[in-house]
Protein backbone atom coordinates (compact mmCIF):
# COMPACT_ATOMS: atom_id res chain seq x y z
CA UNK A 1 0.00 0.00 0.00
CA UNK A 2 1.84 3.10 -1.23
CA UNK A 3 1.97 5.93 1.22
CA UNK A 4 -0.21 8.78 0.13
CA UNK A 5 2.14 11.05 1.98
CA UNK A 6 4.13 11.16 -1.20
CA UNK A 7 1.24 13.00 -2.72
CA UNK A 8 1.74 16.06 -0.57
CA UNK A 9 5.28 17.01 -0.01
CA UNK A 10 6.03 19.85 2.29
CA UNK A 11 8.60 22.34 1.24
CA UNK A 12 9.53 25.15 3.49
CA UNK A 13 11.89 27.61 2.07
CA UNK A 14 12.74 30.92 3.58
CA UNK A 15 13.06 33.69 1.08
CA UNK A 16 16.17 35.71 1.78
CA UNK A 17 16.07 39.44 2.19
CA UNK A 18 17.28 41.84 -0.44
CA UNK A 19 21.03 41.56 -0.77
CA UNK A 20 23.85 40.57 -3.09
CA UNK A 21 23.59 38.73 -6.43
CA UNK A 22 24.25 35.34 -4.85
CA UNK A 23 21.24 35.83 -2.69
CA UNK A 24 19.24 36.74 -5.76
CA UNK A 25 20.32 33.57 -7.54
CA UNK A 26 19.52 31.55 -4.45
CA UNK A 27 16.23 33.29 -4.28
CA UNK A 28 15.44 32.52 -7.91
CA UNK A 29 16.46 28.88 -7.42
CA UNK A 30 14.35 28.61 -4.33
CA UNK A 31 11.43 30.18 -6.10
CA UNK A 32 11.79 27.78 -9.04
CA UNK A 33 11.94 24.81 -6.70
CA UNK A 34 8.95 26.08 -4.80
CA UNK A 35 7.05 26.48 -8.06
CA UNK A 36 7.88 22.94 -9.15
CA UNK A 37 7.01 21.49 -5.77
CA UNK A 38 3.83 23.55 -5.64
CA UNK A 39 2.28 21.36 -8.36
CA UNK A 40 1.79 18.53 -5.85
CA UNK A 41 1.99 20.54 -2.70
CA UNK A 42 -0.38 21.32 0.12
CA UNK A 43 1.78 23.61 2.15
CA UNK A 44 4.20 26.26 1.12
CA UNK A 45 5.62 29.55 2.29
CA UNK A 46 5.36 33.19 1.48
CA UNK A 47 7.39 36.08 2.80
CA UNK A 48 8.48 34.58 6.16
CA UNK A 49 5.15 32.84 6.58
CA UNK A 50 3.41 29.48 6.32
CA UNK A 51 0.75 28.68 3.76
CA UNK A 52 -1.62 25.74 3.98
CA UNK A 53 -4.41 24.50 1.77
CA UNK A 54 -6.79 22.46 3.90
CA UNK A 55 -9.15 19.66 2.86
CA UNK A 56 -11.95 22.14 2.16
CA UNK A 57 -9.74 23.81 -0.39
CA UNK A 58 -9.27 26.96 1.66
CA UNK A 59 -5.89 28.61 1.91
CA UNK A 60 -4.69 29.65 5.33
CA UNK A 61 -1.70 31.86 6.06
CA UNK A 62 0.25 32.07 9.27
CA UNK A 63 3.06 34.53 9.85
CA UNK A 64 4.67 32.27 12.42
CA UNK A 65 3.89 28.87 13.96
CA UNK A 66 0.74 28.82 16.05
CA UNK A 67 1.11 28.83 19.82
CA UNK A 68 -2.55 28.67 20.88
CA UNK A 69 -4.21 25.78 19.14
CA UNK A 70 -7.73 24.45 19.67
CA UNK A 71 -8.21 20.92 18.40
CA UNK A 72 -11.84 20.03 17.74
CA UNK A 73 -11.63 16.31 17.13
CA UNK A 74 -10.16 13.49 19.19
CA UNK A 75 -8.08 12.32 16.25
CA UNK A 76 -6.33 15.66 15.79
CA UNK A 77 -5.82 16.02 19.54
CA UNK A 78 -4.09 12.67 19.65
CA UNK A 79 -2.05 13.60 16.60
CA UNK A 80 -0.93 16.86 18.16
CA UNK A 81 0.38 15.08 21.21
CA UNK A 82 2.04 12.48 19.01
CA UNK A 83 4.08 15.13 17.22
CA UNK A 84 5.02 16.77 20.50
CA UNK A 85 2.74 19.76 20.08
CA UNK A 86 0.71 19.02 23.22
CA UNK A 87 1.96 22.14 25.03
CA UNK A 88 0.49 24.51 22.46
CA UNK A 89 -3.04 23.09 22.85
CA UNK A 90 -5.35 25.48 24.63
CA UNK A 91 -8.60 23.70 23.86
CA UNK A 92 -9.98 20.25 23.09
CA UNK A 93 -13.41 18.64 22.75
CA UNK A 94 -14.94 16.77 25.64
CA UNK A 95 -14.48 13.55 23.69
CA UNK A 96 -10.70 13.94 23.48
CA UNK A 97 -9.50 11.36 25.95
CA UNK A 98 -6.13 10.21 24.62
CA UNK A 99 -3.40 10.52 25.67
CA UNK A 100 -3.92 11.05 29.41
CA UNK A 101 -2.25 14.45 29.18
CA UNK A 102 -5.08 15.60 26.96
CA UNK A 103 -7.35 15.74 29.98
CA UNK A 104 -5.31 18.67 31.28
CA UNK A 105 -6.16 20.75 28.22
CA UNK A 106 -9.26 22.93 28.71
CA UNK A 107 -12.52 21.35 27.53
CA UNK A 108 -14.39 23.58 25.06
CA UNK A 109 -17.38 21.35 24.40
CA UNK A 110 -18.42 19.50 21.26
CA UNK A 111 -16.55 19.30 18.00
CA UNK A 112 -19.49 19.01 15.59
CA UNK A 113 -20.66 21.70 15.76
CA UNK A 114 -18.36 23.53 18.14
CA UNK A 115 -19.33 26.05 20.77
CA UNK A 116 -18.05 29.24 19.10
CA UNK A 117 -17.95 31.23 22.30
CA UNK A 118 -16.00 28.79 24.41
CA UNK A 119 -13.52 28.17 21.60
CA UNK A 120 -12.91 31.88 21.05
CA UNK A 121 -12.60 32.39 24.80
CA UNK A 122 -9.29 30.57 24.51
CA UNK A 123 -8.04 33.17 21.99
CA UNK A 124 -6.70 30.59 19.57
CA UNK A 125 -4.53 31.48 16.61
CA UNK A 126 -5.23 28.11 14.98
CA UNK A 127 -8.38 25.97 15.09
CA UNK A 128 -8.39 22.40 13.81
CA UNK A 129 -11.89 21.36 12.72
CA UNK A 130 -13.23 18.04 11.52
CA UNK A 131 -14.53 18.69 8.02
CA UNK A 132 -18.32 18.37 7.96
CA UNK A 133 -21.17 20.47 6.51
CA UNK A 134 -22.14 21.36 10.07
CA UNK A 135 -18.73 22.98 10.64
CA UNK A 136 -18.66 25.27 7.62
CA UNK A 137 -20.30 28.10 9.48
CA UNK A 138 -18.08 27.63 12.52
CA UNK A 139 -15.01 27.82 10.28
CA UNK A 140 -16.17 31.12 8.90
CA UNK A 141 -16.88 32.53 12.35
CA UNK A 142 -13.44 31.52 13.65
CA UNK A 143 -11.78 33.16 10.66
CA UNK A 144 -13.72 36.35 11.21
CA UNK A 145 -12.47 36.37 14.76
CA UNK A 146 -8.92 36.31 13.44
CA UNK A 147 -7.92 32.69 13.95
CA UNK A 148 -6.45 30.47 11.27
CA UNK A 149 -8.75 27.53 10.56
CA UNK A 150 -8.09 24.12 9.05
CA UNK A 151 -10.97 21.81 8.08
CA UNK A 152 -9.59 18.31 7.89
CA UNK A 153 -10.81 15.01 6.48
CA UNK A 154 -9.66 12.58 9.10
CA UNK A 155 -11.32 9.34 8.10
CA UNK A 156 -8.66 6.95 6.82
CA UNK A 157 -5.39 5.53 8.06
CA UNK A 158 -3.57 7.41 5.34
CA UNK A 159 -4.85 10.65 6.81
CA UNK A 160 -2.71 10.21 9.91
CA UNK A 161 0.64 10.65 8.20
CA UNK A 162 -0.75 13.05 5.63
CA UNK A 163 -2.13 15.35 8.28
CA UNK A 164 0.96 14.95 10.44
CA UNK A 165 2.96 16.43 7.58
CA UNK A 166 0.36 19.07 6.87
CA UNK A 167 -0.24 20.37 10.37
CA UNK A 168 3.11 19.88 12.11
CA UNK A 169 4.89 22.85 10.45
CA UNK A 170 2.09 25.15 11.50
CA UNK A 171 2.82 24.41 15.13
CA UNK A 172 6.56 24.49 14.78
CA UNK A 173 7.06 20.73 14.94
CA UNK A 174 7.76 20.03 11.31
CA UNK A 175 10.56 17.60 12.04
CA UNK A 176 8.54 15.51 14.50
CA UNK A 177 5.61 15.50 12.12
CA UNK A 178 7.74 14.30 9.27
CA UNK A 179 9.44 11.59 11.30
CA UNK A 180 6.13 10.38 12.73
CA UNK A 181 4.66 10.23 9.25
CA UNK A 182 7.64 8.43 7.82
CA UNK A 183 7.70 5.92 10.65
CA UNK A 184 3.98 5.32 10.36
CA UNK A 185 4.15 4.88 6.59
CA UNK A 186 7.01 2.46 6.97
CA UNK A 187 5.26 0.38 9.60
CA UNK A 188 2.00 0.22 7.68
CA UNK A 189 3.83 -0.60 4.49
CA UNK A 190 5.68 -3.39 6.24
CA UNK A 191 2.48 -4.72 7.78
CA UNK A 192 0.86 -4.72 4.35
CA UNK A 193 3.78 -6.57 2.88
CA UNK A 194 3.83 -9.24 5.58
CA UNK A 195 0.10 -9.79 5.42
CA UNK A 196 -1.00 -13.39 5.13
CA UNK A 197 -3.39 -13.12 2.21
CA UNK A 198 -3.94 -16.84 1.78
CA UNK A 199 -5.63 -17.39 5.11
CA UNK A 200 -7.72 -14.27 5.34
CA UNK A 201 -10.42 -14.90 7.96
CA UNK A 202 -13.95 -13.76 7.17
CA UNK A 203 -14.66 -11.08 9.71
CA UNK A 204 -17.75 -9.02 10.43
CA UNK A 205 -17.33 -5.70 12.20
CA UNK A 206 -20.60 -4.97 13.94
CA UNK A 207 -21.42 -1.46 15.01
CA UNK A 208 -24.98 -1.90 16.26
CA UNK A 209 -27.82 -4.42 16.34
CA UNK A 210 -31.06 -2.44 16.44
CA UNK A 211 -31.09 -2.27 13.44
CA UNK A 212 -28.03 -4.35 12.47
CA UNK A 213 -25.31 -1.98 11.32
CA UNK A 214 -22.04 -3.18 9.89
CA UNK A 215 -18.77 -1.44 9.03
CA UNK A 216 -18.09 -1.22 5.31
CA UNK A 217 -14.96 -0.80 3.25
CA UNK A 218 -15.12 2.98 3.53
CA UNK A 219 -14.14 2.95 7.19
CA UNK A 220 -10.59 2.94 8.58
CA UNK A 221 -11.65 0.09 10.87
CA UNK A 222 -12.05 -1.97 7.75
CA UNK A 223 -8.58 -0.82 6.64
CA UNK A 224 -7.12 -1.99 9.94
CA UNK A 225 -8.84 -5.33 9.56
CA UNK A 226 -7.50 -5.77 6.04
CA UNK A 227 -3.97 -4.95 7.15
CA UNK A 228 -4.33 -7.44 9.96
CA UNK A 229 -5.00 -10.14 7.42
CA UNK A 230 -8.75 -10.31 7.83
CA UNK A 231 -11.39 -10.06 5.14
CA UNK A 232 -14.30 -7.73 5.80
CA UNK A 233 -17.33 -9.71 4.68
CA UNK A 234 -19.02 -6.45 3.75
CA UNK A 235 -16.17 -4.98 1.76
CA UNK A 236 -18.54 -4.45 -1.18
CA UNK A 237 -20.19 -1.72 0.84
CA UNK A 238 -18.30 1.44 -0.05
CA UNK A 239 -19.80 3.55 2.73
CA UNK A 240 -18.22 3.55 6.19
CA UNK A 241 -21.28 1.78 7.58
CA UNK A 242 -24.61 0.38 6.42
CA UNK A 243 -27.83 -1.11 7.75
CA UNK A 244 -28.22 -4.73 6.66
CA UNK A 245 -30.43 -7.66 7.56
CA UNK A 246 -29.50 -10.61 9.72
CA UNK A 247 -30.02 -12.72 6.64
CA UNK A 248 -27.38 -10.79 4.75
CA UNK A 249 -24.95 -11.34 7.61
CA UNK A 250 -25.72 -15.05 7.72
CA UNK A 251 -25.27 -15.31 3.97
CA UNK A 252 -21.72 -14.02 4.17
CA UNK A 253 -20.60 -16.60 6.68
CA UNK A 254 -18.35 -14.53 8.96
CA UNK A 255 -16.07 -16.74 11.01
CA UNK A 256 -15.45 -14.04 13.60
CA UNK A 257 -17.46 -11.04 14.70
CA UNK A 258 -15.70 -7.95 15.97
CA UNK A 259 -17.67 -6.17 18.66
CA UNK A 260 -16.88 -3.34 21.01
CA UNK A 261 -18.49 -4.66 24.18
CA UNK A 262 -16.84 -7.18 26.40
CA UNK A 263 -18.62 -10.38 27.28
CA UNK A 264 -21.32 -11.88 25.12
CA UNK A 265 -23.05 -9.00 23.37
CA UNK A 266 -26.74 -8.50 24.18
CA UNK A 267 -28.01 -9.27 20.71
CA UNK A 268 -26.42 -12.72 20.78
CA UNK A 269 -29.09 -13.80 23.21
CA UNK A 270 -31.92 -13.01 20.85
CA UNK A 271 -33.26 -16.07 19.03
CA UNK A 272 -33.25 -14.67 15.51
CA UNK A 273 -29.47 -14.15 15.62
CA UNK A 274 -28.80 -17.81 16.09
CA UNK A 275 -29.12 -18.29 12.37
CA UNK A 276 -25.64 -16.78 12.08
CA UNK A 277 -23.20 -19.57 13.01
CA UNK A 278 -20.61 -17.18 14.42
CA UNK A 279 -23.21 -15.81 16.84
CA UNK A 280 -24.52 -19.23 17.75
CA UNK A 281 -21.00 -20.47 18.48
CA UNK A 282 -20.01 -17.24 20.21
CA UNK A 283 -17.09 -16.42 17.93
CA UNK A 284 -16.70 -12.88 19.13
CA UNK A 285 -13.60 -10.76 19.22
CA UNK A 286 -13.61 -7.77 21.49
CA UNK A 287 -11.99 -4.55 20.53
CA UNK A 288 -12.21 -1.64 22.91
CA UNK A 289 -13.85 1.21 21.08
CA UNK A 290 -11.70 4.18 22.02
CA UNK A 291 -8.55 2.70 20.53
CA UNK A 292 -10.44 1.39 17.53
CA UNK A 293 -12.56 4.48 17.23
CA UNK A 294 -10.35 6.87 15.29
CA UNK A 295 -7.43 6.84 12.85
CA UNK A 296 -4.35 7.38 14.98
CA UNK A 297 -0.62 6.72 15.27
CA UNK A 298 -1.57 3.70 17.38
CA UNK A 299 -2.80 1.99 14.22
CA UNK A 300 0.22 -0.27 13.65
CA UNK A 301 -0.02 -1.54 17.23
CA UNK A 302 -3.73 -2.16 16.72
CA UNK A 303 -3.06 -4.02 13.51
CA UNK A 304 -0.51 -6.23 15.20
CA UNK A 305 -2.83 -6.95 18.13
CA UNK A 306 -5.68 -7.77 15.80
CA UNK A 307 -3.42 -9.95 13.70
CA UNK A 308 -2.47 -11.96 16.77
CA UNK A 309 -6.08 -12.24 17.93
CA UNK A 310 -7.24 -13.45 14.54
CA UNK A 311 -4.47 -16.00 14.41
CA UNK A 312 -5.37 -17.22 17.88
CA UNK A 313 -9.06 -17.42 16.99
CA UNK A 314 -8.38 -19.58 13.96
Amino acid sequence: MASPASKSRLLIAHLPGVGDGRSVCRALAAAALALLAACGTRTGTTAGGLVVVDDAGDTTRLARPAVRVVSLSPATTELMFAIGAGPVLVGRTRWCDYPAEAKAVPDVGDGIPPNIESVLAQHPDLVLLYRSPQNVDAARRFREAGAAVLQLDFNHLADVSRLARLVAPLVGHAAEGDSLATSLDRQLHQLAATRDTTHAANVLIMAWDQPPMVIGAGSFQSEILTLAGGHNVFDDVTAPSATVSIEAIAARHPAVILVSDTGVPGFARRPEWRVVPAVRDRHFLHFATPAFGRPSPRAPALVRALRDSLAAAR
Binding site: I112, A239, T243, V244, E247, A248, E272, V275
Partner: protein, 323 residues
Amino acid sequence: MRNRWPWLLALTLVSLVLGLALGATRIPPSAIWLGLRDASADAAPVVRQLRLPRVLLGFLVGGGLAVSGAVLQALVRNPLADPFVLGISGGATLGAVAAISAGLTNPWGVPFAAFAGAVLTLVLVYRLSLVAGRRLDSGVLLLAGVVVSSFAMALVTAILMLVDATRVQNSFRWMLGGLWAGSWTTVGMVAAYGSVPLIVLMVRARDLDLLALGEEQARHLGADPERVKRLAYLATGFLTAVAVATSGAIGFVGLLVPHAVRRLWGPLHRALLPSVFLAGGGFLVLADAIARSIAPPVELPVGVVTALVGVPFFALLLKRRLA
Protein backbone atom coordinates in the same frame (compact mmCIF):
# COMPACT_ATOMS: atom_id res chain seq x y z
CA MET B 1 -63.91 -3.82 -7.30
CA ARG B 2 -67.25 -4.16 -5.54
CA ASN B 3 -66.41 -7.19 -3.47
CA ARG B 4 -63.35 -6.39 -1.40
CA TRP B 5 -62.42 -9.73 0.06
CA PRO B 6 -60.96 -11.40 -3.05
CA TRP B 7 -58.77 -8.35 -3.58
CA LEU B 8 -57.63 -8.18 0.02
CA LEU B 9 -56.91 -11.88 0.21
CA ALA B 10 -54.98 -11.65 -3.04
CA LEU B 11 -52.94 -8.77 -1.64
CA THR B 12 -52.26 -10.74 1.52
CA LEU B 13 -51.14 -13.77 -0.44
CA VAL B 14 -48.94 -11.83 -2.84
CA SER B 15 -47.27 -9.93 -0.04
CA LEU B 16 -46.61 -13.07 1.99
CA VAL B 17 -45.16 -14.87 -1.00
CA LEU B 18 -42.96 -11.96 -2.06
CA GLY B 19 -41.89 -11.36 1.51
CA LEU B 20 -40.73 -14.94 1.78
CA ALA B 21 -39.23 -15.08 -1.68
CA LEU B 22 -37.10 -11.95 -1.50
CA GLY B 23 -34.12 -11.52 0.73
CA ALA B 24 -30.38 -11.03 0.95
CA THR B 25 -29.71 -14.56 -0.24
CA ARG B 26 -31.10 -15.93 -3.43
CA ILE B 27 -33.25 -18.93 -2.51
CA PRO B 28 -35.28 -20.61 -5.25
CA PRO B 29 -39.01 -21.00 -4.55
CA SER B 30 -38.76 -24.76 -4.32
CA ALA B 31 -36.13 -24.46 -1.61
CA ILE B 32 -38.26 -21.94 0.26
CA TRP B 33 -41.21 -24.29 0.13
CA LEU B 34 -39.02 -27.16 1.32
CA GLY B 35 -37.58 -25.01 4.07
CA LEU B 36 -41.07 -24.24 5.32
CA ARG B 37 -42.09 -27.85 5.52
CA ASP B 38 -38.86 -29.55 6.56
CA ALA B 39 -36.87 -28.25 9.52
CA SER B 40 -33.68 -29.97 8.40
CA ALA B 41 -33.60 -28.46 4.91
CA ASP B 42 -30.71 -26.14 4.00
CA ALA B 43 -32.85 -23.08 3.62
CA ALA B 44 -34.89 -23.87 6.72
CA PRO B 45 -33.02 -21.70 9.26
CA VAL B 46 -33.16 -18.62 7.08
CA VAL B 47 -36.74 -19.16 5.97
CA ARG B 48 -38.15 -20.24 9.32
CA GLN B 49 -36.13 -18.13 11.74
CA LEU B 50 -35.64 -14.97 9.73
CA ARG B 51 -37.94 -14.50 6.76
CA LEU B 52 -41.15 -15.97 8.06
CA PRO B 53 -41.09 -14.13 11.41
CA ARG B 54 -40.13 -10.91 9.66
CA VAL B 55 -43.02 -11.21 7.23
CA LEU B 56 -45.43 -12.01 10.05
CA LEU B 57 -44.16 -9.12 12.13
CA GLY B 58 -44.58 -6.82 9.15
CA PHE B 59 -48.12 -8.02 8.66
CA LEU B 60 -49.07 -7.57 12.30
CA VAL B 61 -47.42 -4.17 12.62
CA GLY B 62 -48.80 -2.88 9.33
CA GLY B 63 -52.25 -4.16 10.13
CA GLY B 64 -52.14 -2.80 13.68
CA LEU B 65 -51.00 0.64 12.56
CA ALA B 66 -53.67 0.78 9.87
CA VAL B 67 -56.42 -0.15 12.33
CA SER B 68 -55.12 2.40 14.82
CA GLY B 69 -55.15 5.07 12.16
CA ALA B 70 -58.66 4.24 11.05
CA VAL B 71 -60.07 4.33 14.57
CA LEU B 72 -58.24 7.50 15.52
CA GLN B 73 -59.59 9.24 12.44
CA ALA B 74 -63.10 8.48 13.70
CA LEU B 75 -62.18 9.29 17.30
CA VAL B 76 -60.84 12.77 16.68
CA ARG B 77 -63.12 13.30 13.67
CA ASN B 78 -60.20 14.30 11.52
CA PRO B 79 -59.16 12.43 8.37
CA LEU B 80 -55.60 13.69 8.78
CA ALA B 81 -55.05 11.79 12.01
CA ASP B 82 -52.49 9.01 12.05
CA PRO B 83 -51.55 6.60 14.86
CA PHE B 84 -48.82 8.96 16.07
CA VAL B 85 -50.93 12.07 16.41
CA LEU B 86 -51.52 11.43 20.08
CA GLY B 87 -47.89 11.52 21.02
CA ILE B 88 -47.18 7.82 21.30
CA SER B 89 -44.29 7.69 18.87
CA GLY B 90 -42.66 10.59 20.73
CA GLY B 91 -42.82 8.68 23.98
CA ALA B 92 -41.54 5.48 22.41
CA THR B 93 -38.65 7.33 20.79
CA LEU B 94 -37.78 8.92 24.10
CA GLY B 95 -37.73 5.53 25.81
CA ALA B 96 -35.63 3.95 23.08
CA VAL B 97 -33.13 6.81 22.84
CA ALA B 98 -32.77 6.89 26.62
CA ALA B 99 -32.05 3.17 26.60
CA ILE B 100 -29.60 3.41 23.72
CA SER B 101 -27.79 6.34 25.29
CA ALA B 102 -27.59 4.62 28.63
CA GLY B 103 -25.94 1.70 26.90
CA LEU B 104 -28.36 -0.98 28.03
CA THR B 105 -26.93 -4.39 27.32
CA ASN B 106 -30.09 -6.41 27.81
CA PRO B 107 -31.25 -7.65 24.40
CA TRP B 108 -34.82 -6.57 25.15
CA GLY B 109 -33.82 -3.34 26.83
CA VAL B 110 -34.57 -0.98 23.98
CA PRO B 111 -37.98 -2.40 22.96
CA PHE B 112 -39.20 -2.51 26.54
CA ALA B 113 -38.01 1.01 27.19
CA ALA B 114 -39.76 2.14 24.03
CA PHE B 115 -42.95 0.40 25.10
CA ALA B 116 -42.74 1.95 28.57
CA GLY B 117 -42.25 5.38 27.02
CA ALA B 118 -45.21 4.87 24.72
CA VAL B 119 -47.52 3.78 27.52
CA LEU B 120 -46.38 6.69 29.65
CA THR B 121 -47.32 9.22 26.98
CA LEU B 122 -50.60 7.38 26.47
CA VAL B 123 -51.48 7.86 30.12
CA LEU B 124 -50.16 11.43 30.22
CA VAL B 125 -52.17 12.56 27.20
CA TYR B 126 -55.23 10.79 28.55
CA ARG B 127 -55.00 12.62 31.88
CA LEU B 128 -54.36 15.92 30.16
CA SER B 129 -57.47 15.60 28.05
CA LEU B 130 -59.81 14.89 30.93
CA VAL B 131 -61.14 18.40 31.24
CA ALA B 132 -64.34 19.35 32.98
CA GLY B 133 -64.64 16.15 34.98
CA ARG B 134 -64.83 12.88 33.12
CA ARG B 135 -65.21 14.21 29.62
CA LEU B 136 -62.61 13.10 27.08
CA ASP B 137 -62.58 16.06 24.73
CA SER B 138 -61.37 15.20 21.21
CA GLY B 139 -59.98 18.63 20.47
CA VAL B 140 -58.06 18.72 23.73
CA LEU B 141 -56.86 15.18 23.03
CA LEU B 142 -55.26 16.30 19.78
CA LEU B 143 -53.70 19.33 21.41
CA ALA B 144 -52.40 17.30 24.34
CA GLY B 145 -50.91 14.81 21.90
CA VAL B 146 -49.05 17.51 20.01
CA VAL B 147 -47.79 19.09 23.22
CA VAL B 148 -46.59 15.85 24.81
CA SER B 149 -45.03 14.70 21.57
CA SER B 150 -43.10 17.95 21.19
CA PHE B 151 -41.97 17.71 24.77
CA ALA B 152 -40.77 14.14 24.30
CA MET B 153 -38.90 15.01 21.11
CA ALA B 154 -37.30 18.00 22.80
CA LEU B 155 -35.99 15.65 25.46
CA VAL B 156 -34.76 13.30 22.75
CA THR B 157 -32.85 16.14 21.10
CA ALA B 158 -31.37 17.14 24.45
CA ILE B 159 -30.18 13.59 25.09
CA LEU B 160 -28.69 13.33 21.63
CA MET B 161 -26.78 16.56 22.17
CA LEU B 162 -25.14 15.11 25.23
CA VAL B 163 -24.04 11.69 24.01
CA ASP B 164 -21.26 10.68 21.68
CA ALA B 165 -21.58 10.36 17.93
CA THR B 166 -21.96 6.58 17.88
CA ARG B 167 -24.99 6.61 20.15
CA VAL B 168 -26.47 9.47 18.14
CA GLN B 169 -26.09 7.52 14.94
CA ASN B 170 -27.53 4.38 16.52
CA SER B 171 -30.49 6.37 17.84
CA PHE B 172 -31.25 7.84 14.44
CA ARG B 173 -31.11 4.40 12.85
CA TRP B 174 -33.61 3.13 15.40
CA MET B 175 -35.87 6.13 14.89
CA LEU B 176 -36.14 5.50 11.16
CA GLY B 177 -38.05 2.34 11.96
CA GLY B 178 -37.99 -1.09 10.36
CA LEU B 179 -38.74 -4.77 10.70
CA TRP B 180 -35.27 -5.91 11.67
CA ALA B 181 -36.60 -7.27 14.97
CA GLY B 182 -38.56 -10.04 13.27
CA SER B 183 -38.30 -13.19 15.38
CA TRP B 184 -40.77 -15.66 16.79
CA THR B 185 -40.45 -13.99 20.18
CA THR B 186 -41.31 -10.57 18.82
CA VAL B 187 -44.12 -11.93 16.70
CA GLY B 188 -45.51 -13.76 19.71
CA MET B 189 -45.37 -10.63 21.86
CA VAL B 190 -47.00 -8.43 19.26
CA ALA B 191 -49.70 -11.02 18.62
CA ALA B 192 -50.34 -11.45 22.34
CA TYR B 193 -50.38 -7.77 23.26
CA GLY B 194 -51.95 -6.56 20.08
CA SER B 195 -54.78 -9.02 19.74
CA VAL B 196 -56.72 -7.77 22.76
CA PRO B 197 -57.07 -4.16 21.57
CA LEU B 198 -57.80 -5.38 18.06
CA ILE B 199 -60.61 -7.62 19.22
CA VAL B 200 -62.03 -4.90 21.46
CA LEU B 201 -62.11 -2.46 18.57
CA MET B 202 -63.70 -4.89 16.15
CA VAL B 203 -66.39 -5.80 18.65
CA ARG B 204 -67.20 -2.11 19.09
CA ALA B 205 -67.19 -1.39 15.38
CA ARG B 206 -70.75 -0.13 15.26
CA ASP B 207 -70.14 2.23 18.13
CA LEU B 208 -67.29 3.70 16.16
CA ASP B 209 -69.66 4.32 13.24
CA LEU B 210 -71.84 6.36 15.57
CA LEU B 211 -68.90 8.15 17.12
CA ALA B 212 -67.81 9.23 13.66
CA LEU B 213 -71.08 11.15 13.32
CA GLY B 214 -70.20 13.37 16.24
CA GLU B 215 -70.68 12.89 19.95
CA GLU B 216 -74.08 14.49 20.23
CA GLN B 217 -75.46 12.55 17.27
CA ALA B 218 -73.98 9.38 18.68
CA ARG B 219 -75.74 9.94 21.99
CA HIS B 220 -79.06 10.68 20.31
CA LEU B 221 -78.79 7.39 18.49
CA GLY B 222 -78.22 5.52 21.74
CA ALA B 223 -74.42 5.22 22.04
CA ASP B 224 -72.35 6.17 25.08
CA PRO B 225 -69.74 8.43 23.51
CA GLU B 226 -67.59 8.81 26.60
CA ARG B 227 -67.19 5.09 27.02
CA VAL B 228 -66.55 4.47 23.35
CA LYS B 229 -63.96 7.26 23.22
CA ARG B 230 -62.14 5.93 26.27
CA LEU B 231 -62.11 2.46 24.86
CA ALA B 232 -61.04 3.58 21.40
CA TYR B 233 -58.29 5.81 22.71
CA LEU B 234 -56.80 3.23 25.04
CA ALA B 235 -57.08 0.40 22.52
CA THR B 236 -55.46 2.31 19.66
CA GLY B 237 -52.85 3.70 22.01
CA PHE B 238 -51.87 0.28 23.22
CA LEU B 239 -51.87 -1.15 19.71
CA THR B 240 -49.65 1.64 18.45
CA ALA B 241 -47.35 1.31 21.44
CA VAL B 242 -46.79 -2.37 20.69
CA ALA B 243 -46.09 -1.63 17.03
CA VAL B 244 -43.73 1.27 17.66
CA ALA B 245 -41.83 -0.49 20.43
CA THR B 246 -40.83 -3.30 18.09
CA SER B 247 -40.48 -1.46 14.82
CA GLY B 248 -40.13 2.24 15.41
CA ALA B 249 -42.46 4.84 13.93
CA ILE B 250 -43.22 3.66 10.39
CA GLY B 251 -45.19 6.38 8.69
CA PHE B 252 -47.94 6.53 6.07
CA VAL B 253 -49.43 3.11 6.75
CA GLY B 254 -51.75 4.40 9.44
CA LEU B 255 -52.70 7.49 7.46
CA LEU B 256 -53.09 6.31 3.88
CA VAL B 257 -54.42 2.77 4.15
CA PRO B 258 -57.63 3.73 6.02
CA HIS B 259 -58.30 6.47 3.49
CA ALA B 260 -57.77 4.17 0.55
CA VAL B 261 -60.00 1.45 1.97
CA ARG B 262 -62.73 3.94 2.90
CA ARG B 263 -62.61 5.46 -0.53
CA LEU B 264 -62.91 2.09 -2.20
CA TRP B 265 -65.41 0.36 0.03
CA GLY B 266 -66.97 2.82 2.46
CA PRO B 267 -66.37 3.74 6.09
CA LEU B 268 -68.53 1.34 8.10
CA HIS B 269 -66.20 -0.08 10.72
CA ARG B 270 -67.57 -3.61 10.86
CA ALA B 271 -65.96 -4.38 7.52
CA LEU B 272 -63.51 -1.48 7.53
CA LEU B 273 -61.37 -2.67 10.43
CA PRO B 274 -60.62 -6.17 9.13
CA SER B 275 -60.10 -4.79 5.61
CA VAL B 276 -57.75 -2.14 6.84
CA PHE B 277 -55.85 -4.73 8.83
CA LEU B 278 -55.29 -6.92 5.78
CA ALA B 279 -54.51 -3.98 3.51
CA GLY B 280 -52.11 -2.39 5.99
CA GLY B 281 -50.39 -5.67 6.67
CA GLY B 282 -49.97 -6.52 3.01
CA PHE B 283 -48.81 -3.01 2.22
CA LEU B 284 -46.10 -2.99 4.86
CA VAL B 285 -44.84 -6.47 3.97
CA LEU B 286 -44.56 -5.43 0.33
CA ALA B 287 -42.84 -2.19 1.25
CA ASP B 288 -40.38 -4.09 3.41
CA ALA B 289 -39.71 -6.59 0.62
CA ILE B 290 -38.89 -3.67 -1.67
CA ALA B 291 -36.76 -1.94 0.97
CA ARG B 292 -34.69 -5.08 1.34
CA SER B 293 -34.23 -5.71 -2.35
CA ILE B 294 -33.35 -2.38 -3.96
CA ALA B 295 -29.69 -2.14 -2.98
CA PRO B 296 -28.62 -5.34 -1.29
CA PRO B 297 -27.09 -5.91 1.17
CA VAL B 298 -28.00 -2.41 2.34
CA GLU B 299 -31.57 -2.00 3.58
CA LEU B 300 -33.53 1.14 2.91
CA PRO B 301 -35.62 2.37 5.84
CA VAL B 302 -39.07 0.93 5.28
CA GLY B 303 -40.69 4.29 6.10
CA VAL B 304 -39.06 5.73 2.98
CA VAL B 305 -40.62 3.03 0.83
CA THR B 306 -44.07 3.37 2.39
CA ALA B 307 -43.97 7.06 1.56
CA LEU B 308 -42.58 6.67 -1.97
CA VAL B 309 -44.99 3.87 -2.85
CA GLY B 310 -47.97 4.99 -0.83
CA VAL B 311 -48.24 8.59 -1.87
CA PRO B 312 -48.48 8.14 -5.66
CA PHE B 313 -50.86 5.24 -5.22
CA PHE B 314 -53.03 7.40 -3.03
CA ALA B 315 -52.91 10.25 -5.53
CA LEU B 316 -54.18 7.80 -8.15
CA LEU B 317 -57.00 6.81 -5.85
CA LEU B 318 -57.99 10.42 -5.32
CA LYS B 319 -58.46 10.84 -9.06
CA ARG B 320 -60.77 7.88 -9.48
CA ARG B 321 -64.42 8.45 -8.83
CA LEU B 322 -66.08 5.34 -7.48
CA ALA B 323 -69.86 5.33 -7.23
